[in-house]
Subunit: 474 residues, 2 copies
């Protein structure tokens, strides 16, 4: 890993949260702007984090029975026009290739903003009979949506994501599968790996995906009280199936359009992780997703310390811990410690000459900064247990913040007031689409609608007794 | 997995090899054309194969110390112009975005054909001192090179690949690292995972990568005797470093340009695997890369057979074998067996009522078709050993073909004659660039130059006593 320049120079979150975010991306060497406006370079440490996130999400997706495919970057412009709402939703964001191979193309092609339409076209070929259903497909790739106000990881003109696309025989099956993805893949990953508590629910009609009959969302609260949409799952009803002729012959031989779904999560989650857990010393990575869970740091880089350090790393790796040794001699101890703090490694194991004399090392937690002296023989068992408690305490702290900063509101005025520092919870019957208009005028939006128990409303029915969660958002 | 239509309908390789290739891609449900000319849809089974290949290559790349990053899809057109040979090499193949976000762009942007130039720009920022060297980076992504004569996996306008980019302090270090990638990553993967023997060597001046001072290549022979370039590694000398100002301060404080390398392998390897190992019954996947190594196939789908089949699958998985049960009732046994044959699963374990009565099952090898009855208790130990011998026998068979079809030639005429059925080996001193011209006029090319011992010439020196391997190629 390249050494960073001075590290203790982050703007404080209190002073200017967006500035802190920019600072930490730069100082922790996570990402920077590409030369074309809105594009992003993801540097090794952040990409490693993304690879770990990808593996966790991918495993969960495959466990639902879906299979990965690859579909092309380029889509004929005419495809997008087939589903009316869809083309309206995307047309201002498209990047268009007009020349290729040294010539003007007969028909311009669009760089995929999503592959809904292409999956539609292919499924119409691949699906003939009820025996082909459900068809469960997923794809990891880059997509392009031209951004006027780009922000690294949160809104970039190109981003990396997975998009799942499925076809089913009935609305009930489509709904059940989308809900399963939403809870067992997204919510489970966000809470149990990223340690970010999320509110699950459905989007209001206005906030739905273009062409969907229902959009489910996972909403998280960032360190400044603003919301970030972490992942969404859409029921597309029969809209795309009708537009793309995705039909199946039922067992009785009747030909019917399928019910389709789509669902996605992206590199935006990296931004969410940074903003949900970071503090004035840098980012804080929850242990289960951390590329490096423990860094063994020699206070003095001498032979004896290095030998003991190496054997501790080996022991930790054997115990299933992602550990690495920092044996750099180009920088002093203090600077190296600060750098790992900035990069959010959950545990530092400091090995110093004095400690070693009494057979000890010092465990330093990144989350609270607590230090603990531990006997060398007990290092790996202590750390294995510690990593689990760090996860629990991190999600608990985030949950506490979410609770503290969510206010029950009884009017638009109260909701707007609450949204200055966090979320408001207000009965949807009381807010309604008119109230939503009023919020929108003040840059506050309905993040999701959920039941009073905090669950996803069945079948996307907005008529029932729902609560709206409102807030400002990224 | 969706069921396929009639499977025993491949054109024979003997009759028409390219047609056989198209047939097998379709019947084994591997890939098909996308709607935009030259683009490709990779279907679940082939994508799974690619994921396995990717994991194997990625692990080897990381073992050399390189780290993964992500760089943007879009590159300013001006970047490509900075290195003269490079722009010439790529300009006929570029796809250009002229409109985005509903407007014409002030400067058109190019869809990356490779990210050489962008890595150059970034390394110039990231590298300051000798302490930042070597910088070893890699990226997995899609790239676009407009193809006039596309062929699935082999030449597509968009393909998936990894491209590595490194910077070093000296030419020797750059050469040694490129060679390490070439042998320990590419050759090792191709031979020890894909079971494809490769010839390693360097490209002639004419066949070098645009802007490189030396290109190393791994060349394989396909089933029809034609060559396929499987992976290449380039030494870029100081060309890109000078064009992009990638400099470092040495320990004595002197500022010098770096020596850079780049190296890549792509989805073309999937095509190579199909054409190197396939036969008239379908593809044949070598065991180490096979997504499914063993399929347990019930001759009759009844409860007892299914119970035993499931427990055999569990046992195999416990023994580290990638096994799955085929419990489909929608198709008869014969059809299912043919389908797995078509998809090249190395071993079928057939479980029939008669066999079961005597406590046996039947092992059927995909590579030679040999059948063997085995006691149920011995299934997993037998199969674990068998998978290893299948690998060895597959690479041996491919090596035998390579030897049988490589002819020592003493003149251009003899070389051209040999190239009708395979490769010719001819001293480079004798062939020379004039001889290369003569070959090229007959669509035969110099695939690589290697020492008489078959190794990569040191430092890309073309003046020494080298042998040219010539042949037709994909």
């Amino acid at each position: 890993m390249a050494h960073s320049s001075r590290t203790n120079v982050l703007t404080s979150q209190q002073d200017d949260f967006p500035r802190w975010y920019q600072d930490v991306l730069e100082k922790a060497e996570l990402a920077e702007n590409g030369p074309v406006r809105g594009t992003m370079v993801i540097r090794p440490y952040a990409y490693w984090l993304w690879e770990r996130m990808q593996a966790e999400v991918d495993g969960r997706i495959k466990a639902t029975g879906a299979e990965n495919v690859y579909l092309p970057l380029f889509i004929p412009q005419s495809y997008l026009a087939r589903e009316a709402e869809h083309v309206e939703g995307f047309s201002p964001e498209l990047a268009v290739v007009t020349h290729a191979g040294g010539k003007e193309l007969p028909e311009p092609v669009v760089v995929r903003p999503t592959s809904e339409t292409l999956f539609g076209e292919l499924m119409s070929k691949w699906i003939q009979s009820h025996r082909d259903l459900p068809m469960l497909l997923n794809r990891w790739a880059n997509v392009v949506r031209w951004e006027m106000r780009p922000r690294l990881f949160l809104r970039t003109s190109e981003f990396l994501w997975q998009e799942g696309h499925t076809a089913h025989a009935t609305r009930e099956e489509a709904n059940a599968y989308a809900l399963r993805i939403h809870l067992d893949v997204y919510r489970d990953f966000l809470q149990n790996v990223l340690a970010i508590p999320v509110l699950v629910g459905v989007k209001s009609r206005r906030e739905r995906f273009a062409g969907a009959i229902n959009t489910m969302t996972c909403e998280a609260m960032m360190g400044d009280g603003k919301a970030l949409q972490m992942a969404t799952s859409h029921e597309l009803g029969q809209n795309f199936a009708k537009a793309f002729d995705i039909t199946f012959a039922s067992s009785s031989g009747q030909v019917e359009p399928c019910w389709t779904t789509s669902w996605g999560s992206s590199t935006r989650m990296v931004g969410g992780l940074i903003m949900a857990h970071g503090d004035d010393q840098g980012i804080r990575i929850p242990p289960r997703v951390a590329p490096v869970q423990v860094v063994v740091l020699a206070v003095k880089v001498d032979e004896r310390t290095m030998t003991i350090g190496s054997s501790l790393v080996r022991e930790l790796i054997t115990a299933g811990v992602r550990a690495r040794l920092d044996n750099r001699t180009t920088q002093g101890f203090g600077r190296r410690a600060t750098e790992w703090e900035l990069k959010g490694v959950p545990v530092r194991l400091e090995v110093g000459p004095r400690d070693l004399q009494s057979g000890h090392a010092t465990i330093v937690r990144r989350d609270g900064g607590a230090k603990e002296s531990v006997r060398l023989e007990a290092v790996s068992t202590t750390i294995v247990a510690l990593l689990e408690s760090i996860h629990t305490e991190m999600i608990e702290a985030a949950r506490q913040r979410l609770m503290d900063r969510t206010v029950e509101a009884a009017s638009v005025t109260e909701a707007l007031d609450a949204a200055k520092a966090g979320f408001a919870r207000i009965p949807w019957e009381q807010l309604g689409e008119e109230g939503e208009d009023a919020l929108n005028r003040e840059a506050v939006s309905v993040r999701c609608l959920q039941t009073r128990q905090g669950t996803v409303p069945g079948n996307g029915d907005l008529a029932s007794d729902l609560m709206a969660i409102v807030g400002r958002s990224y």
